[in-house]
């Protein structure tokens, strides 16, 4: 029995004619780090702001701790937000910025001091207190914005793409730090981002959004290895799509005949990966999703045939990326991507290459009129 902290129930929202949120429902477990992930315009920020109380709820309900908060003003929800541009008050110094909310609550000075000390301890910003927001770097502003929220000891912490204004290296180090801090303080955190790598690295749970809908909810490995749609598969990471028809279904082995080229790919689908009622049947049109790193290049002479998922393809081109090499291979009537990690200096140059795919790493998506060769996030 999971302990639901924030519940969103059938929430819709329109701006003018555009439907930004369309019947959204989501349950967020207490103490979890939940990410709303999606491309720009998918409604993730609107959903977050609605949770914060900046937007009114038009249709549906929002519950925090089983309390309906639709009409509770922002500051009484104790759902504190860290803004994308930090929204630090430029006319106050860092100390005044961090303690602003406590002073508004008329908290005794001694208590304010105690909380301030504790918070700056988490974030290592004690030396910045007397400066103004204009005098500190982007990364420091980010920490101050986080401190201003944490000092309130919020029920729910809302983060709106807080790392998007930082440079790549800083983003990765703050990412880890933020996750550690969240786990230590066990604050229910809702995080909005369009960066799938960030979502995978930080979250307990990811809700993938598109056009105002939630497409899939699951753990990072769930949405990565068992996407329920070509959109989710292509939005999170890079993937090869191969279209085919189901030819045989056994307990743990499904065989799919590729549409162009006639090869047969064996799939070993985990039972929880597909919905029971939605299991593939013989004759179904399906799309296979295969991650580039799941395709293994072999010696030309390696034994094995179709039934064991061994195939031949024609090498088109390759790119050296340091930790890996990406190959483009003409196979199954399409261009297939294959990533080889730790490649050393031996780049494959032959015309014909041989490769294999582990049946357990192929995922079946039942076609819903969606098409695409490979999506690159």
């Amino acid at each position: 029995m999971k302990n639901v902290h924030v519940a969103i129930s059938n929430v819709s929202k329109t701006f003018g004619k555009a439907k930004v949120l369309d019947d959204i429902s989501l349950e967020i477990p207490r103490g979890s780090f939940t990410t709303l992930l999606g491309p720009s315009g998918c409604g993730k920020t609107t959903l977050l702001r609605t949770l914060a109380g900046f937007y009114s709820v038009e249709l549906g309900d929002i519950f925090i701790d089983d309390q309906r908060v639709n009409d509770v003003p922002s500051h009484l929800r104790n759902a504190i937000m860290v803004f994308q541009d930090y929204a630090l008050f430029p006319h106050m110094n860092i100390r005044e910025n961090i303690t602003y909310g406590l002073r508004i609550r008329k908290m005794p000075q001694a208590e304010i001091g105690k909380r301030l000390e504790r918070t700056i301890g988490y974030l290592d910003i004690g030396n910045l207190l007397d400066r103004t927001p204009g005098q500190i770097s982007g990364g420091q502003q980010q920490r101050v914005a986080l401190a201003r929220a944490l000092v309130m000891e919020p029920e729910v912490l809302l983060l709106d793409e807080p790392l998007s204004n930082l440079d790549a290296k800083l983003r990765i180090s703050i990412r880890a730090e933020l996750r550690q801090l969240q786990q230590r303080l066990k604050i229910t955190t809702i995080y909005v981002t369009h960066d799938q790598a960030e979502a995978l690295a930080m979250s307990d749970m990811i809700a993938v959004m598109k056009d105002g809908h939630i497409m899939q909810v699951g753990s990072p490995s769930d949405v990565y290895y068992h996407p329920n749609s070509t959109f989710v598969a292509s939005f999170i990471g890079t993937v090869n799509f191969i279209r085919g028809v189901v030819r045989s279904v056994a307990d743990d082995r499904i065989e799919v005949e590729v549409k162009n080229g006639g090869a047969t790919i064996a799939v070993q689908e985990k039972p929880q990966g597909t919905d029971a009622g939605n299991a593939p049947r013989i004759g179904d049109n399906v799309t296979l999703a295969i991650r580039p790193e799941s395709i293994k290049l072999l010696d030309k002479a390696a034994a094995g045939d179709d039934s064991q998922n061994f195939f031949n393809g024609k090498l088109i081109r390759s790119i050296f990326e340091g930790s890996s090499i990406r190959y483009w291979i003409d196979a199954f009537g399409a261009e297939i991507l294959a990533d080889v990690f730790d490649p050393g200096e031996n780049i494959v140059r032959e015309d014909i290459v041989r490769f294999t795919i582990e049946p357990g790493k192929v995922h079946i998506i039942i076609d819903r009129c969606e098409s695409g060769i490979h999506g690159v996030a």
């Binding site: 500051h75 803004f83 008050f89």
Partner: protein
């Protein structure tokens, strides 16, 4: 060869600009300072009458600036930050005085609230005396609060709503949010707006000459010195008293207050819903804005009624005779129009060329040109008028009573608006456009013709319109330069009002308003959104 030709024409343009600025901006200013002798300064400093006048000016600056800035802020807050109904209409009405002759408010309020006032005597049956500091205070408040409104509306709009949302999210609501976030962020803008208003109040000539009666201020006293005693030296000293604080405030505002603005610190402005205002606050703001809007509209109602009734205060029967009589003033009208068109166009052209040179070329006197083009904005019209009167009405340069002296004064009094518009526009045009065009093979002449001219056409046109309207409605600059041979309409209106011919004066003012608003309307129609007239 071609290049050398280009360089030559550039040098000639720079020389022309520098010589004009030296001759028509710097020289008259210097003349005002050199004309009076030490004795003139001392006698004025010793005279109790002039000290009282200076104190009067100071008092009006404080009173009118406070009231105009307060009302301007309430308006700006209502328009930019609330959901009070009728915001667009309030904004439109509050902009009207910006495009009207500066003396108009005082003139109309004499008719509305004076001894025979349509409202005071006509409706409430009370005899009031509007002449004096209180009448001036009312007139200046209404005449100049739009300036404060425009500046502060811009400031409030550029405060990111995110900051207010953050404040609300952290617990601040209603007035606490206003006190801790919104107002502190707007404070530099409020200070800037107040200083701009102060300059206008200090330099105001049109309102006090009509409504202040025996309560004299520096600007009117300078005029009296010349008109009554032909004491140009005394007038020069008084106008120096006017210039020094005006100059100080202007540059303080420009280089100190503007630097303290928070506007640039906040990030991109996100589209956020404006939070609903509390009912009590909402309707209080509505009532205030509505009341002030009515006061503004009354100005125009007064003028219209005044122009169409036989005798103000005693014979309310309608008549068209004042408009028929205007034909006897057609000379002044034609002068007003033709001088202002020439002056507006020359001013816009001159300032655009200067702006182009300053922002795109490096040359020896660049900083001088930049400073001198902005300088006229700090000069009270009276001061420049006296400068021209001292500098250009006696040998070696005697333009006494000519059209040229009026037109020149109008041109150079207005260059700063056009210049700043031009600089702003050229800053928007990234030099990389030029690089791109020349990279694609365009010559510098073609770049100028095909890239830069089309991009500065809009700003040029706006500054032409603004200069034209300022020229056609100005009184303070031309009052010292007018004779029967070159008088323009504003000068006649002043004389008509002081002689008590309200009907004729009102009719002429109506014609001025038609010209001014008509020009605006046509400009909007022709250029649409390209024309930005609401910059201060």
């Amino acid at each position: 060869m071609k290049r050398r030709k280009h360089e030559l024409s550039l040098t000639i343009a720079i020389l022309f600009i520098v010589i004009c600025l030296l001759g028509f901006v710097i020289y008259p200013i210097v003349e005002v300072f050199l004309f009076p002798k030490i004795g003139d300064f001392l006698s004025i400093l010793k005279s109790e009458r002039y000290m009282r006048t200076a104190l009067n000016s100071l008092m009006m600056v404080i009173l009118s600036t406070l009231s105009a800035t307060t009302i301007g802020f309430l308006f700006a807050f209502t328009v930019a930050r609330t959901n009070v109904p009728g915001r667009k209409i309030f904004k439109l009405i509050s902009l009207l005085p910006l495009f009207s002759p500066p003396f108009m408010v005082a003139f109309s309020y004499i008719m509305m609230f004076g001894k025979n006032g349509l409202i005071t005597a006509g409706i409430f049956g009370v005899k009031t005396n509007i002449f004096g500091w209180h009448g001036l205070w009312l007139a200046q408040t209404i005449a100049f609060f739009p300036v404060a409104f425009l500046v502060m509306e811009g400031v409030l709009q550029s405060i990111s709503p995110m900051l207010e949302h953050a404040g609300r999210n952290l617990g601040a609501t209603g007035f606490a949010l206003f006190r801790t976030v919104t107002f502190p962020l707007a404070r530099p803008g409020v200070a800037g707006a107040a200083l701009l208003v102060a300059i206008q109040v200090l330099a105001d000539f049109g309102n006090p000459i009509m409504i202040s009666g025996s309560f004299s201020v520096l600007a009117t006293e300078a005029w009296m010195r010349v008109e009554g005693w032909a004491d140009i030296a005394g007038a020069a000293v008084l106008s120096i008293f006017l210039l020094v604080p005006s100059f100080a405030i202007f540059f303080f505002q420009r280089y100190w207050v503007n630097k303290r603005s928070y506007v640039t610190v906040t990030g991109k402005i996100a589209q956020m819903e404006i939070q609903k205002t509390g009912k009590a606050v909402k309707w209080t703001l509505f009532a205030i804005c509505a009341f002030i809007s009515v006061l503004i509209l009354l100005v125009y109602v007064g003028l219209l009624v005044g122009a169409f009734v036989n005798g103000w205060g005693y014979d309310w029967s309608p008549t068209l005779r004042y408009f028929r009589e205007i034909s006897s003033r057609s000379k002044e009208l034609i002068r007003s129009l033709s001088y202002s068109i020439v002056a507006g166009f020359s001013s816009a052209l001159f300032s655009m060329v200067a702006a182009y040179l300053v922002s795109r070329k490096k040359f020896l006197m660049r900083r001088f040109v930049d400073f001198t083009c902005i300088l006229p904005a700090a000069l009270p019209g009276i001061f420049l008028g006296i400068g021209y009167s001292i500098g250009f009405t006696r040998p070696p340069v005697d333009m006494y009573g000519t059209a040229a002296i009026i037109v020149l004064s109008m041109i150079f009094w207005n260059i700063s608006t056009g210049y700043q518009t031009g600089i702003g526009a050229l800053q928007q045009i990234s030099p990389s456009f030029n690089d791109a065009a020349s990279n694609l093979g365009a010559t510098s002449m073609r770049i100028f013709r095909e890239i830069e001219i089309p991009l500065i056409k809009g700003p040029f046109f706006s500054s032409f319109i603004i200069s034209f309207i300022r020229a056609v409605t100005t009184l303070s600059v031309i009052v010292f330069l007018s004779t029967s041979k070159n008088a323009v309409v504003t000068f006649s209106i002043m004389n008509l009002v002081s002689d008590g011919f309200y009907g004729k004066a009102a009719a002429l003012t109506c014609v001025l308003l038609v010209i001014s608003f008509g020009t605006l309307g046509i400009a909007k129609l022709l250029m649409g959104k390209q024309v930005q007239l609401f910059k201060v």
